[in-house]
């Protein structure tokens, strides 16, 4: 198709901006080299020149998804997300849609990270829940649509991690309200955790908070009902204190 005719050609018309005759292929190679060596700004420039000069070809398709990766590494999450969304709209049947979904999940997963994370690792659990849910859904789409993609195993692992951390941050809020003596708020938060985050380790913490909060609110019946659930599901954890 037309991509093959993409040989180097000289632009003589004087009205057009001065165009070096670099072909799409060499632009793509240069962009990839920059990206590999960490010069993400350079990589982005090459990819976007390619897109401007040779739009709508196979090379432009590659350039677009790889510029998204470069933006992600260059700590510009929002532009990366826009580029990925534009990519899936422009090339719905591209061979790399699974990578696009995976990359989209990664951008939201690592949002807010900075070089200092190596020096002072940032605790992951209590960060913005909305982005984590978005990442969770991107990875989920990847697993349902491209179960056999080579990114699927890592996505599955990250989904598990996300599910647990979402449950954990919900339970942490319940504990926070116990510490402050807002027992009704703690009770309702614990209830929410149990309802929305089954199967995560946070369930046990939530059940404990529910018991202590019910006792503090002098609702012995609610406390004993919840205690029975703990005995059923976590027989070895029935002894715990209520000081938070």
């Amino acid at each position: 198709c037309s991509m093959l005719s993409q040989k180097a050609e000289k632009d003589t018309t004087k009205t057009a901006a001065v165009e070096t005759n670099e072909s799409a292929e060499s632009l793509l190679k240069k962009g990839r080299a920059n990206s590999a060596s960490g010069q993400y700004e350079e990589a982005i420039k090459n990819f976007e020149t390619l897109e401007a000069r040779y739009p709508l070809g196979k090379f432009a398709e590659q350039a677009m998804i790889e510029s998204a990766y470069a933006y992600y590494k260059f700590d510009e999450p929002d532009t990366a997300l826009d580029t990925i969304d534009r990519f899936s709209r422009m090339y719905p049947r591209s061979a790399r849609t699974d990578y696009a979904l995976y990359l989209r999940g990664l951008v939201n997963f690592n949002r807010g990270g900075s070089i200092l994370d190596k020096v002072f690792p940032r605790s992951f659990s209590d960060l913005d829940a909305v982005r984590k849910k978005e990442a969770f859904h991107d990875f989920q789409k990847l697993l349902t649509r491209h179960a056999d993609s080579k990114y699927a195993p890592d996505a599955a692992k990250r989904m598990g991690y996300l599910r647990n951390s979402l449950g954990e941050s919900e339970a942490n809020v319940a504990k926070h309200y116990m510490k402050r003596g807002a027992y009704l708020a703690a009770y309702n938060r614990a209830e929410y955790t149990i309802k929305h985050h089954q199967g995560t380790p946070a369930i046990l913490d939530a059940l404990k908070v529910k018991v202590c909060a019910a006792r503090a609110l002098k609702r012995e019946k609610l406390a004993s009902d919840t205690m029975r659930i703990i005995q059923l599901n976590f027989p070895e954890n029935t002894k715990f204190g209520c000081s938070y």
């Binding site: 037309s2 209590d126 960060l127 926070h176 402050r180």
Partner: protein, 732 residues
């Protein structure tokens, strides 16, 4: 008639791949095809935005899709725009799908042209012209050129008000923001016509009259008429004043509580005033807001008595249902733990919604130094009439300052330093700072850690460990060598929403060596007290802080008054009283006036004096700019500045964004006047030094940098003047 589709042929393609076209044709080979589907195919192909024209035809059982590709935009340039930045235009264009690399949609371009022209006219540029030219380039691409003639904003030639009896036209003209410019107001844009400004003026007029009893005042008509060449504008406003009304009887229905009744600021017999009425309504809703009635409403039922021009007012208070907060969600915290913000919230979950505590919470979060901005919005909970969720959306500001490398400071020569200060350490809100520095006159190391929430209710606790070796010989203060090391623990106890008590206790070991150039004061002191001292230092201070944020506050104040004691058991017993205060007043949206001041006094117990190394110094970028660092005040016997045990300084400043660089974050320019000095025991007014100048402060990712150029106003000849000064890590 329908038929089974044998094949789909696409022609007219030059750059787009057949695959892309086929993926957008909602029909597959082998399906039965009938005429109804043609509509969907054409719609979906146009939907891709890639094609100028799409035509379907049939040859036997083969569907032929004939497309004409849109030219892709090769280059896009914009000329002639002065008052709207090119970046704003390119973003708008990209929003409309017009950007290099994208297919050129001529309709969108024409739409953009019309829209931009409308924009200019709406801003009062009635002579503006916007046109665009598309020149085809090689290989299916097009060059787009947008040419803009902005013209000027129409100037108001005159404003005529008719129908006014109670107030002369001159009084009314002063109320208006739009009007002809007086000769000397060269900079003002008062004569630039804008619809919004005129509407604002009409509101000002009616509230002016309604505040003076003219309840039936109305603007009958307002005309704006353009000159023939569309460069000038006349404004004619015709008003009908109506009569002046006084307040008749006032009664409140809907609530029994007397406290609420007292809230009414409208009294019988007074001339009716709309602003007083609004004030009463505001008092009501804020009072009710405190008790969870967030949606309380007050409607005022006026009853006119036309004969003797009175109006009886009934305030009907509708409490509405009490509203409860179900869940509070924290958003945008990518680096900080949820609990660090949640613990600042005064509004709790499963508790009634109180406007006051939500506003309080917003202010407390805004004051955290690692928060750039915070918004709290309520959204109703589906299925309930009285429950809402709160969304706290935070924009974080990188608060870790990582300084390393070589620096030059005027007072200490070449400076090597390495330091990291983080007041949101690992997203926990704790503060940790580690810093080491080495230069000819000083080498120091200090580590400090503070946890503002050591206890749940906000009692803070922190430690500090420091080692400091100074050789004060070459800067112009008294010469001696001193090295000290020590550690201290500090606590802070909240006394209310805005004030707290701070206490610290520490031990310090210091030893002093004299040099041959040490002045008599130093040598006498050493002879009297020896070279080494162990000190037990404790400080106690009360701080009241109502500033709206710590970085570049725009309103509020901070006052701190405290005492530092060399408590008994130390070798040298002394005390230092210290007051520092700052107040911020917003002038306009991002212009703030700042007033700062400080008084410190120190003395030894009994008849001995304050140790010389504890003296206060003045001069330099943090006290009185324009004078060399610590150079002010009395001199010691060898002519260096000895400092003093009484220090006074004050600053008045106006801060505004740097005009051309207003989008650089955290950059502010300022115009200031400094005053201050240090004294030996007695304050002497004519010894106070003054200076004025301009300054620039930038809160860079590496920490606050400030630069100032100041002219001393009453420098004595032996003062060391230094107009240009800069520093890293100055407080602001």
């Amino acid at each position: 008639d329908s038929f089974v589709l044998q094949d789909i042929q696409v022609n007219g393609l030059s750059r787009i791949s057949a695959g892309t076209v086929l993926s957008n044709v909602p029909v597959r080979v082998g399906q039965t095809f009938d005429d109804r589907m043609t509509g969907d195919i054409v719609k979906s192909l146009y939907g891709t935005g890639l094609f100028e024209d799409v035509a379907l035809s049939r040859r036997g059982n083969i569907l032929i899709v004939k497309v004409q590709e849109r030219l892709a935009i090769g280059s896009l340039d914009i000329e002639g725009n002065k008052t709207i930045e090119t970046k704003v235009l390119t973003d708008a264009l990209r929003g409309g799908g017009i950007a290099p690399g994208r297919p050129l949609d001529k309709a969108a371009l024409a739409q953009f042209e019309k829209e931009l022209q409308k924009q200019y006219v709406a801003r009062g540029n009635y002579t503006a012209k916007v046109s665009s030219k598309v020149t085809p380039l090689k290989d299916g691409r097009a060059g787009v050129k947008i040419d803009i003639q902005e013209g000027t904003t129409a100037k108001i030639r005159n404003v005529k008000i008719t129908g006014n009896k109670a107030f002369p036209e001159a009084v009314l003209q002063k109320l208006l923001e739009s009007g002809p410019k007086s000769k000397l107001a060269v900079w003002s844009s008062k004569d630039e016509y804008s619809k919004a400004k005129l509407r604002g003026d009409l509101d000002n007029l009616s509230s002016f009259y309604r505040d003076r009893g003219f309840l039936r005042f109305e603007v009958v008509s307002s005309q704006v008429s353009l000159s023939d060449d569309k460069r000038f504008v006349n404004v004619n406003i015709n008003v009908k004043e109506g009569d002046q009304y006084r307040v008749g009887t006032v009664n409140v229905t809907g609530t029994k509580s007397l406290a609420i009744q007292k809230m009414v600021s409208v009294k019988q017999g007074q001339v009716f005033s709309q602003s007083k009425l609004r004030e009463t309504q505001k008092n009501f809703s804020s009072e009710m807001g405190k008790y969870g009635y967030a949606f309380a409403k007050v409607n005022v039922v006026p009853r006119f008595d036309e004969i003797n021009k009175k109006v009886d007012l009934t305030f009907d208070l509708k409490q509405g249902q009490r509203t409860y907060v179900r869940r509070i969600n924290v958003r945008g915290n990518y680096r900080t733990k949820d609990v660090v913000f949640r613990r600042e919230m005064r509004q709790l979950e499963s508790s009634f919604y109180s406007k006051e505590s939500v506003e309080n919470s917003r202010r407390r979060i805004q004051r955290l130094s690692f928060v750039e901005s915070v918004k709290i919005q309520t959204s109703p909970v589906a299925g309930t009439t009285d429950q809402v969720d709160l969304d706290v959306t935070v924009v974080e500001q990188s608060s870790n300052q990582f300084t390393a490398g070589v620096g030059y400071s005027q007072s200490a020569g070449v400076l090597f330093n390495l330091g990291l200060s983080q007041n949101n350490f690992m997203g926990t809100g704790k503060q940790l700072s580690v810093a080491g520095a080495k230069s000819e006159s000083e080498s120091s190391f200090n580590l400090s850690y503070n946890n503002p929430y050591y206890t749940e209710s906000g009692i803070g606790r922190g430690f500090k460990v420091y080692y400091d070796e100074t050789d004060a010989t070459d800067d112009d203060t008294s010469d001696y060598l001193s090295d000290k090391y020590g550690a201290s623990v500090n606590f802070s106890f909240p006394l209310g929403e805005d004030d707290s008590l701070r206490f610290s206790l520490g031990a310090e070991q210091r030893s002093i060596e004299t040099t041959d150039s040490s002045p008599d004061e130093v040598t006498e002191f050493i002879d009297a007290n020896g070279n080494d001292y162990t000190q037990l230092i404790s400080t106690l201070s009360y701080v009241k802080d109502t500033r709206d944020r710590t970085v570049f506050p725009s309103e509020g104040q901070r006052h701190s008054i405290g005492i530092e004691l060399g408590i008994p058991g130390s070798d040298l017993e002394y005390y230092k009283l210290k007051y520092t205060g700052s107040a911020y007043f917003p002038i306009s949206e991002n212009v703030t006036s700042v007033f700062k001041g400080g008084v410190s006094y120190g003395d030894g117990f009994g008849d001995d004096d304050l140790p010389f190394f504890e003296n206060f110094y003045s001069g330099g970028i943090r006290t009185v700019r324009g004078f060399e660092q610590s150079s002010l005040g009395p001199d010691d016997s060898s002519g260096d500045a000895a400092g003093g045990n009484l220090s006074v300084n004050a600053t008045a400043e106006i801060r505004f964004p740097v005009p051309m660089l207003s989008d650089v974050k955290g950059l502010k320019a300022s115009v200031f006047v400094d005053a201050g000095n240090v004294f030996d025991d007695e304050f002497d007014a004519d010894e106070v030094r003054y200076s004025a100048g301009v300054g620039l402060t930038w809160v860079s990712p590496l920490g606050p940098l400030s630069l100032s150029y100041a002219k001393p106003l009453n420098a004595e000849d032996d003062d060391d003047v230094q107009e240009l000064q800069f520093s890293v890590g100055a407080n602001f």
